[in-house]
């Protein structure tokens, strides 16, 4: 949260319509994402009730559990969901691999992935963060199951569990786009006139951003809060829906005999009711995708997507090589390593977004971690050092209205010239709350002692400098597994799934 975003929210609250919170898109969008909406059965630990999924707005598939308290039906649901999710991921994976081997034969080398590559980017889009939580727990409850032994499940079930766990863990990585919550993606690009609590409701958020004709965003958001006309996007259902609609229908399914016409009718009724509750959210998620597609992607979006792809392919390979499922809990070293990589990703993502998006960078200008203004003086031919060690070290002076919190010796970089570094020589206050910052530049100007044309900012050019960097941080040194210190439990045993994992009750 920055003052800038807060101001955007204040403007939205005042005007009744959402305001812009970024100038580019920061999330990668697949050409063919899998949209997934899930409902749970109240009171039980992550018991699935229903799901709607599909990779085009027209191809919604509805899964419904008619007896959510029944363990067998839960696993049958998991198997059906596996068909959709694992099926989708598998298609992406084999297409990507085919693309990769084709590229190798064609001698495309190791540059940018070819365009066709992006068509197969695997991406699961869910309505909200709570659904990510649901998928994480569904992964947890299915990945350790076995297709053999005392409580056998469909072989697809543990595979689904591993993929869901992979996706949910990846979703914690800032800037990853493999599993995306629509509410979060929208909040990154638009500011609504409501609070963060209310921003968890997808229908309300879209109300602010994209109200129906004739309504203000505020009015549309308020209308979306009526659970009877605007059912929640899950995973929790509305209690009055449970009590008045679901309970009699589930009872009717239980009362009728399997295979009878009554049962068929009762199941159909249940499916219709649940389908009706999911349909509005289905449309809203696809509308979110459409709105986000309308934004121009930032420059580093594809970089992060590439690393998503690499992680995805690596995990697919690991699974095919018979890799064990993720353990119930991380070992001490794995947890520390993971935390460190999340922190790194967070810092790098923040910097990338600021470099891509002037509006995000403006947040840093407000706090003094960046400033922007016009070049008022430039000495592009200045040389530093002496004799053979003379180097091109141009000087530029930038005049800014921003608050300047950097001082001589600080190293800065400009998003316009990310490979050039700038060292602050002096900061002088000017009249009218302005400041002049003199900078010495190095790098990004070619090899000769004369700067390549355009490589040194010219007088009159407007640009920003910031202390943010997106350089690779050397990761903290973590002990190898076998030398985990005793303070952290000593070397953890290699995780081998035990039979009890597979028979853990899910009831």
């Amino acid at each position: 949260m920055s003052t800038l975003y807060a101001l955007a929210k204040a403007r939205a609250a005042d005007s009744g319509f959402a305001t812009q919170a970024s100038t580019v898109r920061h999330v990668h969008l697949a050409e063919r994402p899998l949209v997934l909406i899930a409902l749970t059965f109240a009171g039980e630990a992550n018991a699935p009730l229903a799901a709607m999924a599909g990779d085009t707005p027209e191809s919604a598939r509805l899964l419904v559990v008619t007896q959510p308290r029944n363990r067998d039906e839960r696993f049958a649901f998991a198997a059906e969901l596996a068909e959709i999710v694992t099926g989708y991921l598998g298609e992406c994976e084999s297409a990507l691999r085919a693309e990769l081997s084709g590229a190798d034969e064609g001698g495309a080398g190791h540059g940018e992935p070819p365009g066709a590559f992006w068509q197969k980017f695997p991406q699961v889009i869910v309505p909200n963060e709570a659904t990510i939580g649901f998928l994480r727990l569904l992964g947890r409850s299915t990945r350790l199951r076995r297709p053999d032994g005392p409580y056998p499940v469909d072989p697809a079930v543990p595979v689904l569990g591993r993929w869901l766990t992979f996706l949910a863990e990846r979703a914690e990585l800032p800037g990853s786009s493999l599993l995306v919550a629509a509410t979060q993606a929208l909040a990154l690009h638009w500011a609504t006139g409501q609070s963060a609590v209310e921003d968890r409701n997808l229908a309300a958020v879209l109300g602010w951003i994209d109200p129906p004709a004739g309504l203000t965003g505020r009015a549309a958001a308020a209308a979306a809060e009526n659970p009877v006309t605007g059912p929640p996007a899950g995973p929790a259902t509305d209690p009055t829906f449970d009590n008045e609609v679901l309970a009699p229908l589930i009872a009717a399914c239980g009362r009728t005999e399997i295979g009878s016409a009554q049962r068929q009718r009762a199941v159909l009724s249940l499916q219709d009711s649940i389908g009706a509750v999911l349909a509005p959210s289905w449309r809203l998620v696809w509308r979110s995708v459409e709105l986000l597609r309308g934004l121009t992607p930032g420059r580093t979006v594809s970089l992060r997507a590439e690393s998503d792809l690499a992680a995805f392919l690596k995990y697919g390979e690991y699974l095919r090589d018979g890799g064990t499922p993720q353990p119930r809990r991380d070992s001490a070293v794995a947890a520390a390593r993971r935390l460190s990589s999340l922190e790194q990703a967070q810092a790098s993502y923040a910097a990338q977004r600021a470099f891509d998006d002037p509006l995000v960078l403006a947040g840093y200008r407000l706090t003094g971690e960046a400033f922007g203004g016009s070049v008022v003086a430039a000495d592009p031919a200045r040389l530093g050092g002496s004799g053979k060690r003379r180097m091109l070290r141009p000087l530029v002076t930038v005049e800014t209205l921003d608050v300047v919190r950097v001082g001589p010796g600080d190293k800065l970089v400009s998003p316009a010239r990310p490979r050039q570094s700038a060292v602050v020589m002096s900061v002088s206050p000017l009249a009218g709350a302005r400041s002049a910052v003199e900078l010495e530049l190095s790098g990004g100007m070619g090899r000769s002692l004369v700067a390549a044309p355009g490589s040194v900012p010219a007088v009159g050019e407007r640009l920003c400098y910031t202390t943010l960097t997106d350089s690779y941080q050397v990761s903290g040194a973590f002990p190898e597994r076998e030398s985990t210190p005793w303070t952290h439990g000593g070397p953890p045993p290699v995780y081998v799934p035990v039979p009890d994992d597979a028979v853990e009750a899910w009831s």
Partner: protein, 270 residues
């Protein structure tokens, strides 16, 4: 026919929405009225459904031809005799399912004690035994949700503060003994039976390490060890209350307990 059902379904949908709105509005009277109308619609719909099928839907809880082999009271008597202590219907059903043939319909157990009392009051001692109540030690009122057998000595049917644990341990010993006898020299204990034994063993100190290494003898030893801690205090309390019950209660009250007498409550408080 189908058009009629679809009309009913539409009507049900809109009624449901109205009920939900009324509930959100906190207007319970309106919700109640709407729900009545909704239920009317729903039963019409179900009637149409039945016609559609050409046969009546099975009533709840029935499982076709597979009825109980014995009358319910005899099935319950079997189980209670095995356990040797008052037990809740849930436990009775679990034991029955694991160890006896046939089905014990759970719904019938709720009214069993009342039916037995009615039978006893209209013709005392006409049956060799009755499924009756356990009595609370202090007030001699029927203990909530427990079944017992009329031919047991009175003190066995008394429930004092320690008795629930004592009875649980007693039942554990009896069930384990039964398993030991059934499966002597035979390792083929079914997973269901193993689960039942584990439900006892898991809650008794040192009775078993895990569900897969369960051994009836260990359960018996462990349960007896804990039982020895509670037994004396429990049986003293029970004996005292049994004496009082026999002196103060008439025959029917001795079997089915007595309602609250405030004088007794006050004196118990004193």
């Amino acid at each position: 026919m189908t058009a009629e059902m679809e009309a009913l379904e539409r009507r049900m949908d809109s009624l449901q929405a109205e009920v939900r709105r009324a509930m959100v509005a906190g207007d319970r009277d309106l919700a109640r009225a709407l729900r009545a109308e909704l239920n009317e619609c729903r039963s019409q719909w179900e009637a149409s459904l039945t016609e559609l099928e050409g046969q009546a839907p099975e009533p709840a809880g029935s499982h076709g031809a597979q009825g109980p082999i014995l009358p319910v009271r005899e099935q319950v008597h079997q189980v209670l005799t095995l356990l040797g202590a008052p037990a809740a219907p849930k436990l009775v059903i679990a034991i029955h399912d694991a160890l006896f043939a046939g089905l014990l319909p759970g719904a019938r157990l709720t009214s069993l004690r009342r039916d037995e009392e009615r039978s006893f009051r209209s013709a005392p001692y006409a049956r060799p035994y009755y499924i009756c109540a356990a009595l609370t030690a202090e007030l001699l009122s029927p203990a909530r949700g427990l079944l017992a057998v009329s031919t047991w000595p009175m003190d066995r049917r008394i429930v004092g503060p320690l008795s629930p644990r004592v009875d649980f341990l007693t039942a554990a010993i009896r069930v384990a003994e039964r398993f030991r006898d059934l499966y002597r020299g035979n390792s083929g204990v079914s997973p269901e039976s193993r689960r039942l034994l584990w439900r006892f063993a898991a809650n008794i100190p040192r009775a078993a390490q895990s569900a897969s290494t369960i051994n009836p003898d260990e359960i018996i030893v462990a349960a007896r060890a804990e039982l020895a801690v509670h037994e004396r205090a429990d049986s003293e309390q029970r004996a005292e209350s049994a004496l009082r019950a026999r002196a103060q209660l008439d025959d029917a009250e001795q079997l089915f307990g007595t309602g609250l007498r405030l004088s007794r409550l006050t004196s118990a408080d004193g």
